[in-house]
Symmetry: C2
Subunit: 179 residues, 2 copies
DNA sequence: AGTGAAAAGCGCGCTTC
DNA sequence: GAAGCGCGCTTTTCACT
């Protein structure tokens, strides 16, 4: 049993049977229905509006307005297919810890804007600590990965050090773990 | 100009103007239309079926069958909303490098299966190298993050070392970079 | 496997409470 | 801010190529 998250732990039994506006104050601009919509759409981004409406107990038209509002406010940034990269011929993934040695802001900016466009790049984290960046990439073969690192990272004048860790397994948490 | 990716670099000028079946042998079970569907759905997971059909030059009914097949074969695992965690009250993210000291397989398995369910956990990477796991988490406040690490990682008998790096910025690569 | 037409279901604006 | 109605379009099935 988790005693830590401490978020929204008001202990109130959730009972949304009666009509009328929700009495909950809403920590930010989101009420409980909004949160539920976000949770449902995180689990299944193609869920139909009807189904969403029924699952949250509101009318379809209201649901549509809610979801649109969530998108407009940037709470939901977009929807993406979750693809098995192995099936696309990229069975390898790696995380590459990168240390930057550049002193000019321009050179750092150049690095930061070129990397996301490199082939196989999935995402780039700018982090605190001993390393400056953590790069998540996919590759077709070990050789392709090695070439990627040599040609795009080691060869980059801004990069001082690059350490590659192969990803054996990537477990994505279920969305309801966030609430 | 990238001279590296080396994938599908057959040097053949791509010319899919003529009708009839594609002459391309297809590296795995996916032809060019499948790849395009995957690419489009990665960019916009809620794209309508007829829009997909038109964009790929096939009939809506065919498109539906293609996409279903992609899902059934596991090429597309699912669709998910991309959510701004800050808007949900979790403005902090971190990557935590974890070293495991457990000697029994059971204890490692226990760790691996408990972590994805912990509050705020986004994903868990099992990696090669000096560290065993890399954990991507979100948190409401620095204190909540600290508590998470202390209660769930430092306190875990399987964990020997946990090093937290705050994520300043997370740049997700555009999907077309993978082709 | 790909297509076209027809039926079922959904998106989404408008009006009312 | 939420619900109900209704039109138009999309999705989805099915017989056919």
């Amino acid at each position: 049993m988790d005693s830590v998250d401490g978020l929204y732990s008001d202990g109130m039994p959730k009972d949304r049977r009666s009509p009328g506006p929700a009495p909950r104050p809403a920590p930010d601009g989101l009420d409980e229905v909004d949160r539920e919509l976000v949770r449902l759409l995180t689990a299944d981004g193609r869920m139909a509006n009807n189904a969403l409406a029924e699952a949250t107990g509101i009318a379809p038209s209201t649901c549509l307005a809610r979801v649109r509002s969530l998108r407009e406010r940037g709470v939901i940034r977009g929807f993406h297919a979750d693809v098995d990269l192995g099936a696309l011929g990229q069975p390898l993934q790696a995380l590459i810890a990168i240390r930057i040695g550049a002193h000019s802001r321009d050179e750092i900016d150049r690095f930061r804007s070129k990397v996301p466009g490199l082939p196989g790049v999935l995402s780039l984290f700018h982090v605190s600590g001993a390393n400056d960046y953590l790069l998540h990439v996919s590759a077709a073969t070990p050789d392709a990965l090695r070439e990627f690192v040599l040609d795009h990272l080691t060869a980059d004048p801004a990069v001082v050090h690059a350490e590659t860790s192969l990803i054996f397994e990537h477990i994505r948490a279920t969305p309801d773990a966030r609430n």
